[in-house]
């Protein structure tokens, strides 16, 4: 009798101490950066049949005791004006860069700079994925950080993570950083 009671108590305690906090992650970046592939890779889904995102995709993943609601918003120029509709209550901003698309490094830098000035994203930790590291033309994560001017960011935590979303390489490491930066808060 006593043991049953104790068992019940410990279950209750576990439930209370593990509220499974929900986090809202916002995935942004230019078209063809690899946002949807990254999202699917996080959710362990098939990544070979991705299509360009018209609108947005959302998936929930468990990680480090968090329930992560990841919002992947289309990156086409015409959709970028709608990004702001998704800023509210964002816990971590994830910005994806195609490391092999050197021609558009300026463009992606400008978009990111604009995001960092947004009021609703103030103090929100920033995780940058330097994606497609497997491509021959790809530049390193350090060069991307340099190009985006990440070192000038003073008002928030930031991290750059090189990754290959199609192989799942580096994806989890970035996510771990994101969860840690939330716990610190």
């Amino acid at each position: 009798m006593l043991t049953t009671f104790q068992g019940l108590l410990s279950i209750l305690r576990k439930l209370r101490s593990n509220p499974d906090r929900e986090l809202r992650l916002l995935l942004l970046g230019l078209d063809n950066a690899g946002k949807t592939t990254l999202l699917k890779s996080l959710a362990s889904e098939d990544i070979t049949q991705v299509t360009p995102t018209q609108g947005f995709n959302i998936k929930s993943v468990q990680s480090e005791g968090f329930k992560l609601n990841v919002w992947d918003i289309g990156g086409a120029k015409k959709i970028r004006p709608y990004w702001r509709n998704y800023f509210e209550n964002t816990d971590v901003l994830i910005y994806v860069v195609d490391s092999a698309d050197i021609k558009r490094l300026d463009e992606t830098g400008r978009e990111l700079a604009e995001l960092l000035m947004e009021d609703k994203l103030r103090n929100v930790p920033l995780l940058v994925y330097a994606n497609k590291q497997d491509l021959a033309q790809a530049v390193t994560a350090a060069e991307i950080a340099e190009g985006l001017g990440l070192h000038n960011i003073k008002d928030r935590d930031w991290q750059i993570q090189s990754c290959i979303a199609t192989e799942g390489k580096g994806v989890k490491d970035g996510l771990e950083w994101a969860c840690k930066s939330i716990k610190k808060k």
Binding site: D31, N32, T48, Q49, V50, T51, P52, Q54, G55, F56, N57, G74, G75, A76, K77, K78, I79, Y82, N85
Partner: protein, 312 residues
């Protein structure tokens, strides 16, 4: 649980019921289907189920053989006749059917086999096209892309291979090559087929896509609908349509036509829904897919692109 019990009962009682019906009707299950069910999806789906559930060793071998030839895409207009005759002969012998007394059976059954394994072969073919990535160094691919432009925008010459103009027909940036992604050359072939075979319907849809309030990205939505068409083909939902739509060996044409129907009908639903912006795409696409699945659940369903538009 119920499902398990049902399959257990099915496993034990199916032969019994079949034996009883065989005795009383003097016909085997395949004959009863071919005579009893109306031509098209109902008959073909029933024959397919019967063959797949058969425990007759000869029929099992036949099914394996047909799976093999269709997986290797060996059913052609040339080889088809021999393959079908072989299938019919196997069943006539295994089921002791007298072809003289039942001349219609062979014909009807042969048609079913042609459609069932033609569909399987179609899935393989379409998958090959999907896996072929768009390659800017491949002249054929490039020509097809330019063809799409010329079909949709005949009065507006393209200023260059890489240009902002591509966005006018709904690509994301200045170079469409990255937009095909996981759908590969299949996504492009579908768009070209739509613009070529249903020029008026395609113009009608393209005009809607540049609507100032309800506009959307024509090509990108088109590529997403290729993905939807493929899902329906792969999970077998599209069988109803294919089995009703064609009378001969299904080819990639029937898939393209199915896609054209989806393009046209999706556009209609989109405009009717009066979406506030492009961000509603996933919701409306989901709603659309559900409605198509419901239609495909009806064995009488066959889709036709609204012809009236194409005669205007």
């Amino acid at each position: 649980m119920y499902h398990y019990l049902w399959s257990l009962l099915f496993w034990y009682f199916r032969p019994l019921i079949k034996w009883f019906l065989h005795r009383t009707t003097q016909m085997c299950e395949l004959q009863r289907i071919c005579y009893g069910e109306p031509a098209g999806a109902r008959r073909i789906l029933a024959v397919e189920e019967s063959l797949r559930n058969s425990r007759n060793p000869d029929i099992k071998t036949l099914v394996l053989y047909l799976d093999g030839v269709s997986d290797r895409r060996e059913i052609t207009t040339k080889s088809e006749r021999g393959i079908l005759e072989e299938a019919i002969r196997t069943v006539l012998v295994a089921k002791k059917i007298n072809p003289v007394a039942h001349p219609d059976f062979a014909k009807s059954f042969g048609k079913c086999v042609e459609l069932i394994w033609g569909y399987r072969q179609l899935c393989i073919h379409v998958e090959e096209l999907r896996r072929t990535a768009y390659d800017a160094d491949n002249a054929e691919h490039e020509l097809m892309l330019l063809k799409l432009w010329n079909l949709l925008m005949p009065h507006e010459p393209l200023e260059g291979r890489v240009t902002k103009q591509w966005q006018d027909i709904g690509f994301q940036g200045d170079d469409p090559k990255t937009d095909f992604r996981g759908m590969g050359i299949l996504g492009l072939e579908n768009l070209v087929y739509f613009a070529q075979e249903f020029p008026n319907a395609a113009k009608h849809v393209l005009l809607h896509s540049i609507h100032p309030r309800y506009g959307y990205a024509f090509a990108i939505v088109g590529i997403n609908l290729t993905s939807m068409a493929l899902r329906l083909l792969r999970d077998g939902s599209a069988k109803t349509h294919v089995y009703n739509a064609v009378k001969t060996l299904p080819t990639v044409r029937v898939f393209h036509q199915f896609y054209c129907y989806l393009m046209y009908e999706f556009d209609r639903l989109w405009i009717e829904s009066k979406p506030s912006n492009m961000m509603e795409f996933s919701t409306i696409q989901e709603k659309f897919e559900n409605s198509i699945r419901i239609l495909l659940n009806n064995p009488k369903t066959v889709f036709r692109v609204n012809i009236s538009v194409d005669n205007v």
